[in-house]
Symmetry: D3
Subunit: 118 residues, 6 copies
């Protein structure tokens, strides 16, 4: 199961490169903005990651959830805090969110079994 | 193809256990409510399953569709009735729903080839 | 409050006419299909309306909800049955559905205070 | 403009009563769960409100946004913090969120001009 | 009915100012990017507006639809072309899109009765 | 990677057959309408495909994106034009669209490495 994390990150990097190679100005500006938005600022990195995670849950985007789970762990959030944010997302977004919660639980486990990649 | 059903149910059970182990109160109450809501009541189990199926189609959640397809069969609904509910969902939700209809057709077939798990 | 129903239906008819006047072939075929789909058939008119209502709730479309509430009443469904369908939609779609449930409650009330338009 | 807040809250209370009067068990349990979920707990009330606000933005529910804006102010969050959460939601949800950001800005202003209702 | 256009544009400008006054860096960059993206470039302004209109239809954002209807007219698109784009959006997005098509028809009419604001 | 295209098309055809075999009238009419809607008409085939692609992006349907990418190439659109349409969709739909952009980049590459299937 620990390959889940590596596979996800490898695919993500490889495809980001492909997209960057297309050299579309609008896309490049969106990616640039995305990189900067989650940095420590008016809100803490932790709070921003929990917001990103919960929004990804209610919008039901598995890859976005995986990304924010990993960033949440890196930011020092505990599993209990992560589950509480996902619980609120589950309540807001309804039972349709549950299959994504299952995949989130699997990925969180995978993050815990192997050292978070640097 | 008949492994589709078993794999889906095995993954579902395994991950539900992981989620329950996290012991989050809000999530546990949502799961509990979800279990009870589809029982025979003011509306028949059949009608509730068709509503669950159609809502899963328009919200485009493959796992939710699979779950409600299996429950619909268990409740005694015919494939013609199931397809009619999916047709209304397709009309309401538009052609964006069609890829999910494809996967639903595949899963319904898998349910028909093997005995519905008890 | 009883003007809610009349105003909704008047606007709906007037705008449908405007759309038909544009004479777009694709749109005309969609409207035609929509008119026929909810007729008694493989599933009963009642079941189809509950499906239409629940899908409108999870997709959070107030006008679609109003339309299916009125059709549900015409088909002879009780308020308890209507609320049960909306409850399942609320569970599936989450608390984000609640503001639409409020407007549905208001409209259902308006339908009850005045005779359903023929 | 200060009537915005009062009107919203009055309509909300009145319709919640109507819904409760329908006495549907599933809906009552969802409402009950919703009331409890945002209380101070594993995550702070402030963090939960920002999560609720951002999720409401990306799901584009104006009434939910209004509710969480008011709760955010009550919890002691500053406008800068609120805007930062909405900014992340805007980035995640895209420019389709902007019209809801406009109505949020209007409502936040209305909350600032009159004392927050107790 | 011709006030529809003026009211929409006035509210839009006024609220954009309020948002800009909040001076949030992420939001300002999104607004800036939004302004530039629809300019004549790799794709024509006309094609971009039709894409913007159709996306606004399937995402069911009335204000976004209004904005792109007005920009489409300014770019010289005919009502027949505009309706064809909306028809494809209606097909992709399903009958849930129809209430938004009604409001689009109303707004397009309002744009035709009064001179497009400069 | 070049199997991506063949696998997608084979699965699509096979499942469409299964769906057609169910012989549901509403579904057959939707499929029929879908086939005809994208033909050269009031708008060019190219414009319609870009609209279909962008709508599929903002609605985040990978299979729909794949289908319209292939049709876009067949219609003679360049990768730069395709990326510009996807960029606008990314802006409208937000960063939640990015994982779908990654899979689109992968599929577009696969379409370029092998001759487009007839």
């Amino acid at each position: 199961m620990s390959n889940l994390v590596e596979d996800f990150n490898a695919y993500r990097s490889q495809m980001n490169e492909k997209i960057m190679a297309a050299d579309n100005l609008i896309i490049k500006r969106i990616f640039n903005l995305d990189t900067n938005a989650y940095q420590e600022g008016i809100l803490s990195k932790k709070t921003k990651e929990l917001i990103g995670l919960a929004c990804s849950m209610v919008l039901r985007c598995d890859d976005c959830i995986k990304y924010h789970l990993e960033e949440s762990k890196k930011a020092g959030l505990s599993n209990a805090e992560i589950y509480e944010a996902m619980a609120i997302a589950n309540l807001i977004g309804g039972t349709i969110v549950i299959p994504h919660l299952r995949r989130a639980a699997e990925y969180l486990d995978a993050l815990d079994t192997k050292p978070t990649p640097k």
